[in-house]
């Protein structure tokens, strides 16, 4: 399971970083989403990988650490909101600037 999680983390991060470095806002937004997935998975695995251990004391012999789950929940909510915001922002920028480049301009256009 460790190998699988580690590979998933690696692939998500690689794809995320690659997409963030692209020049168009759509791929950058996708990249940010992938990266935040990777981060959430990473945070989750920080409570150690266990099976059959619910995050409630007393149900089974061993219980999982509940804190990373709470942290991940917060992180998911925040990254969800931020993704929604950045999508709206890129749409607004694309409409206003009439292109979807992250710099919002062609290289030979006058800067505002």
């Amino acid at each position: 399971m460790e190998l699988m999680i580690a590979a998933a983390l690696g692939i998500l991060t690689t794809c995320g970083v690659f997409l963030i470095l692209r020049a168009r806002t759509f791929s950058v937004v996708l990249g940010l989403t992938l990266l935040s997935h990777a981060v959430n998975l990473f945070l989750f695995s920080m409570g150690r990988l266990t099976t059959g251990a619910p995050a409630i004391v007393g149900l089974t012999e061993s219980s999982a650490d509940p804190l990373p789950q709470a942290l991940v929940l917060t992180a998911i909510v925040i990254s969800f909101a931020m993704t929604a915001f950045v999508v709206v922002l890129s749409l607004k920028a694309a409409v206003e600037l009439r292109n979807d480049h992250v710099d919002g301009e062609n290289p030979n256009e006058d800067r505002l």
């Binding site: 963030i20 806002t25 950058v28 940010l32 990266l35 935040s36 990777a38 981060v39 959430n40 990473f42 945070l43 920080m46 409570g47 150690r48 650490d65 804190l67 990373p68 942290l71 917060t74 992180a75 925040i78 990254s79 909101a81 931020m82 915001f85 950045v86 922002l89 890129s90 607004k92 920028a93 206003e96 600037l97 992250v102 710099d103 919002g104 301009e105 505002l112």
Partner: protein
């Protein structure tokens, strides 16, 4: 434990909630609420500074005992930052209430949310809550930056939002590493466990520390991570940009707090030394780049943005010297530079409105009304910013350079700071002479009215710089004590955890 401590977070939150629910209320009522809430924050800031003189104050939310519950900690540094943020915000909201809050909706609600995030970041004693408050202040700042709309703001906003989202992801990665190694995110508890960490974990811990530095470096504008700043700050409206002057300082605050408390408890093998090694050259380069930017700026707002970069470079460079006396002086400089950077953003708007053409572009020579008043304000602000006597700029820089002499590489700081000062004088005097001496006087009819309230706001804010110079002795005393407190993390740990810090045993994740 007093409940007053949580009010700097709760009051702006309630004010913002009220403003959101009653967004149909007349703009006048919204302004009254916003100004009232900010004034209360100023009063709370004064209370905090007085209260912090004696001891640490801790507040356990819901009375959950540390290290398990959420804890707020008030020490001298956070008290000082609370007061500074509240004062700055009061001037910004007063300035905005003269019209720029009408450019879009919800200005005051966003402004209060921003203050909630800033105050929370200053008060929290828990790294995850630092992240949460960072997100609150960032989300509010995204919306404030875009407030009023326009092509320039959308462009600058994209960069700003994307780099900060990336920063948040890195912040969470660092928190994950720290939690995975130590099983806690309470700063005091973390400090104890990091000091007791086994040598095998040192590399990972150092990685987490450096990741955190990257995150705070994005906020504080350190060299490779600062290119979003000039455009974002110069595109936003004047009061928003003036409030953003505190944002880089939030990054600096987090850096100081985390490096000195969390990674600095064990004097034998401090983890922060490795970070300082990186911080020192990068901060000096930031200072140099800021100076070049000031000289090359095309408009006063861009120049002010580079002044912010310069001041944050100087702050981080002096912090990287890792000496108590230097830190004290740089905290004094922090007060001065925050106020003055805000003054320049407001001045750019104030003068821009009185010019016939070109707003704040330096290349345009346009007739200007009320040359005497505006010229005097600009002169005083420029003299103070450039570090010439008799204002706070001179005192803070002189004190900083004098204290820095103990460091082996202090000549680097001296050289770059003084050269940057020269660049700043050249740029500011060129801007001033071009605007106030060159142009023809306004021809009769088209005179514009000067808004006395805006002028008064900026004048009082400049007056603070004078007051800092006048009452330098008590302020310096306070700063010295603050720096001393920061370099004794064991007292912080004892105050939060309620027991003396003992560094024993390995990690128990």
């Amino acid at each position: 434990m007093t409940h007053l401590m949580i009010l700097p977070v709760v009051i702006p939150m309630l004010a913002a909630a009220w403003l959101l629910v009653n967004h149909r209320a007349s703009i006048g009522r919204q302004r009254v609420w916003s100004i009232f809430s900010t004034s209360v924050l100023v009063a709370l800031g004064v209370w905090a500074v007085v209260a912090a003189q004696t001891d640490y104050h801790t507040y356990w939310l819901g009375n959950w005992q540390p290290p398990f519950g959420i804890v707020l900690v008030l020490d001298r540094l956070s008290a000082m930052m609370l007061l500074l943020a509240a004062l700055l915000a009061l001037f910004c909201v007063l300035y905005a209430s003269r019209g720029s809050d009408r450019e879009g909706s919800h200005f005051h609600a966003l402004f209060q949310f921003q203050l909630m995030g800033i105050n929370g970041a200053f008060l929290t004693g828990d790294l995850f809550n630092l992240f949460v408050f960072f997100e609150i202040l960032l989300l509010a700042s995204y919306a404030l930056l875009l407030h009023g709309g326009g092509r320039a703001r959308s462009r600058a906003g994209l960069h700003y939002v994307i780099i900060n989202l990336l920063g948040s992801a890195l912040f969470l990665l660092a928190l994950g590493i720290l939690y995975g190694l130590t099983g806690t995110l309470n700063m005091a508890d973390l400090a104890v466990r990091i000091a007791a960490a086994s040598p095998d974990d040192q590399t990972l811990l150092k990685g987490a520390a450096l990741l955190l530095m990257v995150v705070f470096g994005i906020k504080a504008a350190i060299l490779p991570l600062l290119f979003w700043l000039p455009r974002a700050y110069s595109a936003s409206s004047a009061p928003v940009a003036a409030l953003f002057a505190i944002m880089t300082k939030v990054g600096f605050y987090a850096m100081v707090r985390v490096l000195l408390i969390v990674f600095g408890l064990d004097p034998a093998q401090p983890l922060n030394a490795g970070v300082f090694l990186w911080l020192w050259p990068l901060a000096l380069a930031t200072l140099g780049l800021g100076a070049i930017g000031v000289l090359g700026a095309a408009s006063l707002r861009t120049m002010a943005a580079y002044l912010v970069i310069m001041s944050s470079g100087l702050l981080m460079a002096s912090f990287a010297m890792a000496e108590t006396t230097v830190l004290a002086a740089s905290l004094f400089y922090l007060l001065h530079s925050t106020c003055l950077a805000a003054v320049f953003f407001l001045l750019a708007d104030l003068i821009g409105r009185q010019r016939a053409d070109g707003y704040d572009l330096l290349s345009v020579t346009a007739p200007l009304t009320h040359r005497w008043i505006l010229g005097t304000l600009f002169l005083v602000a420029a003299v103070s910013m450039a570090g010439l006597p008799p204002f706070s700029g001179f005192i803070s820089k002189a004190w900083l350079l004098q204290n820095a002499t103990g460091h082996p590489h202090y000549l680097w700081l001296w050289g770059i700071t003084l050269l940057a000062g020269l660049f700043m004088i050249a740029a500011l005097s060129r801007a001033g002479s071009g605007w106030f001496w060159k142009p023809e006087p306004f021809s009769g009819r088209q005179r514009r009215k000067l808004d006395p309230a805006r002028v008064a706001t900026v004048s009082v804010l400049i007056g603070i710089s004078g007051a800092l110079a006048l009452f330098a002795a008590p302020v310096m005393e306070y700063m010295t004590a603050t720096a001393g407190q920061l370099y004794h993390p064991s007292a912080y740990v004892e105050a939060v955890l309620g027991e003396p810090a003992t560094i024993t045993g390995g990690l128990t994740p």
